[in-house]
Amino acid sequence: MSDQSRDPKLTDAEEQWLDRMLDTAAPIEPSAALRRVVAEIPLRHPRPHGAAERGFALPGYVMGLGLIAALAALSVGAWVGSQAGVLADVAVVDDADAGQVDAAWEELAVLAFADELDEELAP
């Protein structure tokens, strides 16, 4: 035992006697059942994140991830590009629809107020 733990108020003889007393403690050993249970912990408790960690251990895994991400970005870009014509058509249809909505609103206003809103709102 280290000298630094000694109580200065106990004599050297008392310290040595106390060490001997402490050393009479019965030996404590893990039971066979505990040894077995502890040995089987990896089998009984699979690691939830083990797969990811194994993946990172594979050679080139990080580079592979980067390549997959780049390919995914290119695919999305190509798809958006291929849809550009369709989107333009949709925009034209939307403009046409907007004109129809304005006309319908004016008709409803005439029905509701029995007059032209523009005339009523005029100063």
Partner: protein
């Protein structure tokens, strides 16, 4: 590797160990098992069962000894040891060295589990409550003497008991014991001094019997 693991797990566990040994990685595993604790901890964090078993081989007995001395009950101590090694397996990936040894981390986990159990069991019994209650002046057989020493240890406040268990029985440095107990090395030294003085007083009857006892 199998030869090294047999003392811990016994022949009953060999099929389990064999299932993980793997012929191709055998040499790498042997090197790993011989490695330092930090390297093993890193591999346990990556889910390596061989590294886990190497650490268990090194520290299971010590954790059981420590928990038994803290709790005074080996069955309960084995529950603590099992939980400690389960946490090693599950949480090693979150281990950060910060200058602390993996073994110190294990003892700290075990210590905290012991304290939880002691708190759940009863309020801490101060040494003065039962001071000197089991003294006897009769010479005793070794087994009885050992029981008296264990009883005297059990009567110490838990932090003094922990300090003696770590420094005397587990041969930890004051700094390592301080990490386990969550205090400075100087505080551990003080706990040790008070604990040893209390033991000296509790076991005074044996000292009067003569320095040859034990």
């Amino acid at each position: 590797m199998l030869h090294a693991l047999t003392p811990l797990f016994g022949t009953d566990a060999l099929p389990v160990v064999l299932a993980h040994a793997g012929g191709a990685s055998r040499r790498g595993t042997d090197a790993l098992v011989a490695g330092d604790d930090e390297a093993l901890m890193l591999h346990v964090g990556k889910g390596d069962p061989a590294a886990y078993r190497a650490l268990a081989e090194r520290y299971l007995a010590g954790i059981v000894r420590y928990a038994t001395r803290m709790l005074g009950d080996q069955a309960e101590a084995e529950d603590v040891a099992q939980e400690t090694f389960l946490r090693l397996w599950r949480d090693a990936g979150r281990y950060e060295a910060r200058g602390h040894k993996p073994s110190t981390w294990l003892y700290r986990v075990a210590h905290n589990l012991c304290i939880d159990r002691l708190r759940a069991r009863r309020p801490e019994t101060e040494i003065d409550e039962q001071h000197g209650s089991d003294r006897t002046s009769a010479p005793m057989a070794d087994k009885e003497l050992s029981a008296q020493v264990a009883a005297a240890l059990a009567r110490l406040p838990e932090r003094q008991r922990a300090a003696i268990a770590l420094v005397h029985y587990e041969e930890k440095s004051l700094e390592e014991a301080g990490i386990v107990l969550g205090c400075a090395a100087g505080a551990v030294e003080s706990l040790l001094a008070r604990g040893r003085r209390s033991l000296r007083e509790q076991l005074a009857a044996f000292y009067r019997d003569g320095a040859s006892n034990p």
